[in-house]
């Protein structure tokens, strides 16, 4: 497989391939490489932070104010720990595709909660269904404690239905706006009445609050419950299409290609198997078309994790990892609203672009970027960089691992490994005119370009 294609595949299904990976994988063909991605994604490793400080607390313990406060405080602290644990998982996991899909679904089944145990459980539900059956996935999501709270399904009762979940189920999770009526929402909301969870976060159907009556939904009538409603929606081809459009935008190109989306929809509509869909997508010749390579703006998480994968480092203060996410505009577990992050150009404003361009040098070279031009003895901007101390973050960069990784890579090849898009002509000639004394310097130079923001 061509190295450029491997890099493309690895950016879309992960966070970029390292030189070693490129070297090894280029000896296999596409079928084998894609197969390995799925092989590696087979195993499910749940993500868990240590919650022993509150695990022993029961429902009855929480009747006291002090225990409630303890629970809240620990939960807030552990949510942050879970965030950094997740980032770390993205950097280190071998199950690339499963993790990337988890990230995708987290921005599809958008949910936000302060209860660490419920958040953790929700996150692992995303992870375990990420490549499975879409119908089962939606049903599991509809029964998650965090989701029951987030979209008020917990308050959805027979005597007083709450339509929030039913509406978002159709608008955001399964069909998209305009493919259902207000009547469909009203009727399906009744099917989800009585949905609740116990203290442990397990789903409970509260029989007295559940409406057992007949509901008429998409032309069918029956004593439907929530699962039935989901099954009826799955029968709409629009449901398969809606998901495929989103998959296409995320994994292939923000600009939809009608014919390709139709191909995907044909595959997905058959059995709603996410793995089958992804395998078809990643094997398709058009996935590797030039017009699809290096044209997406990396999300802040893709950008950050991509750097950390190329140059391993340790953050002295875990809070810094959250600070960086905040300044880049994407903090995991804290989506802006129920529609999730919009993505694409909306990541970029005056502040985030500067932050993005500056971050690699801040992390890797004390905020300095080498700009000695060929034939120059000393760069003319010494003054700017003088007396710069980096108090923004404290990191320890593992340059040994970097040198190891890039040992066989020529300085020239660094560019094709780090940059997936074509360099702007002017920028290219400027970059080529820079003196390339060390791979580290060149790495920082490349990562500080607008082109590095693309994948």
């Amino acid at each position: 497989m061509k190295k450029q294609h491997i890099q493309h595949l690895y950016w879309r299904t992960g966070f970029g391939a390292t030189p070693t990976q490129l070297e090894v994988l280029s000896q296999f063909d596409r079928h084998q490489v894609v197969d390995m991605l799925f092989q590696n994604a087979t195993n499910l490793t749940v993500l868990e932070t240590d919650t022993s400080e509150i695990d022993h607390l029961t429902q009855y313990d929480l009747k006291t104010k002090s225990n409630r406060k303890l629970f809240r405080d620990v939960s807030t602290k552990k949510l942050k720990a879970f965030n950094t644990l997740w980032v770390n998982r993205l950097v280190t996991s071998n199950a690339l595709l499963r993790e990337k899909m988890t990230l995708f679904w987290a921005n599809h089944f958008v949910c936000r909660d302060n209860h660490i145990l419920h958040v953790q459980q929700y996150n692992n539900t995303l992870r375990s269904h990420a490549l499975g059956d879409f119908g089962d996935f939606v049903k599991a999501i509809s029964k998650e404690a965090a989701m029951l709270k987030y979209l008020n399904n917990k308050q959805n009762r027979k005597s007083k239905p709450n339509e929030n979940f039913a509406r978002e189920l159709m608008e955001l999770f399964m069909l998209g706006e305009g493919h259902y009526t207000e009547e469909d929402i009203k009727e399906s909301a009744r099917a989800f009445t009585g949905y609740s969870h116990n203290y442990e976060g397990e789903f409970k159907l509260w029989q007295q609050q559940h409406d057992n009556g007949f509901k008429t939904f998409f032309g069918h009538t029956g004593r439907y419950d929530g699962d039935d409603i989901i099954d009826i929606i799955l029968k709409q081809r629009q449901c398969a299409r809606f998901i495929c459009e989103k998959i296409y935008r995320y994994f292939v190109n923000e600009n939809l290609d009608e014919a390709r989306v139709n191909e995907l929809t044909d595959v997905f509509y058959k059995d709603y198997n996410i793995e089958t869909l992804m395998r078809f997508l990643l094997m398709a010749d058009w996935f590797y078309d030039g017009k699809n390579i290096g044209v997406k703006i990396k999300s802040p998480i893709e950008f950050l994790v991509g750097i950390l994968k190329m140059v391993p480092m340790e953050f002295k203060n875990a809070k810094d990892i959250i600070k960086i996410q905040k300044l880049l505009g994407q903090v995991l577990l804290y989506p802006p609203n129920v529609a999730g992050w919009e993505g694409g150009r909306s990541w970029i404003d005056s502040n985030t672009i500067m932050m993005r361009l500056k971050l690699p040098s801040v992390l890797l070279s004390n905020a300095k970027i080498s700009l000695t031009e060929k034939g120059e003895f000393e760069d003319s901007f010494k003054k700017y960089y003088k007396q710069r101390s980096n108090d923004f973050v404290k990191v320890e960069v593992d340059w040994v691992a970097f040198e190891d990784q890039f040992d066989k890579v020529s300085t020239n090849d660094l560019k094709s490994i780090l940059i997936t898009t074509k360099l702007n002509n002017g920028t290219k000639s400027y970059f080529e005119g820079l003196s390339k004394t060390s791979k580290r310097d060149v790495c920082v130079q490349l990562m500080s370009l607008p082109e590095y923001q693309m994948c």
């Binding site: 923000e254 040098s361 970027i369 400027y430 130079q445 082109e451």
Partner: protein, 396 residues
Amino acid sequence: MDRRDFLKQSSLASSLFFVPSFIKALELISPKQLGYRRLVLIQLSGGNDGLNTIIPFNNDDYYRNRPNIAIPKAEVIKATNELGFHESMLPLKKLYDEGYMTILNNVGYPNPNRSHFRATDIWHTGSRSDQYLTTGWIGRFLDNYGDEPFNAIEIDDSLSLAMKGQHMYGIAAKNPQALFRTSQDPYFKNVLKHYDDEHLSEHNLGYLYKTMIAAESSAKYIFEKHKTGSNSKDYPKNAFAQQMKTTAKLISSGIDTRIFYASLGGFDTHAGQVQSQKRLLDIYAESIDAFVSDLKQQGTFNDTLIVTFSEFGRRVKQNAAHGTDHGAANNVFIIGNQLKQLGFYNELASLSDLDDNGDLKYTIDFRSIYATLLDKWLSVDHSRILNQSFSHLKFI
């Protein structure tokens, strides 16, 4: 034909404004229509308890619902027979007495949301409570009437949703000097000096370059303006006062900024409210005091309108922890010297006829405040920004 129509018709549309040479051309064909009035928005984040800020000191329901946290009548700085200010708000009471303040009671919207971030979203985007918008109302102001990111500045490290439009964003400049320094990295400057703009098309990479150029020039512009600006008063040492100080300094420089955005957090007083709210109101009132005196001294108060809001008010009934839970309608403060209706704009809603959650019912939709600010203060057409028409209020 206004500026935005021109942009649309010229088919160069959205990102054209990033190209410096075009900006000059636009300036020529479209003379300044906006005047130099400025709007300063302040968010009290977390949900300020409006009822303990402007206190209904003759209301039995108020005292009955808040046995431990109600402000004793004797401590209230009385303004009318019914309503008075929290003692920490003394500086604002003075502005009220001088005719520089309007208080709008019961501001909210139908089916209020009580989650902080969702309610903040609603205020920032100007949406209905069942509607999810991805752009902020100030961002849409920029989309329709702005030229440059610095037409709307948030005094913070990163941008709030309110400041993000479809095609244009405001800029966050907590510290103009630090922002400038970052933008002046010699490596970036070299890249910008060398890049080939003939090939900057509409694709994503072109967008990144254009944003980088706009960021560099905005940071430079703000820094240079900030350098020429001044403050005529001392400000308290806290972070919020520093935001106000930076704002006053930028205003004094004649910067081409219509909207400033600042915020003060910590108002989520679920427990031990009396002390924590007092501390925050002290910070708020002392900072506003310094800010207004500074503006007056420098002759910029006439053209500056200061609007303070919170994403929601708090429950009428106190909770078991001597605090209050998330509520709904709340008061909004307008400060300036071109106010048409001084003091209390409307009566406080009933404390006995509450909504199902035990919260104040709204009588003024917050979007009619936005509409009034946009039309009457910034002289633009609010319906293009709020995507709907709202009736005006008469406070300006």
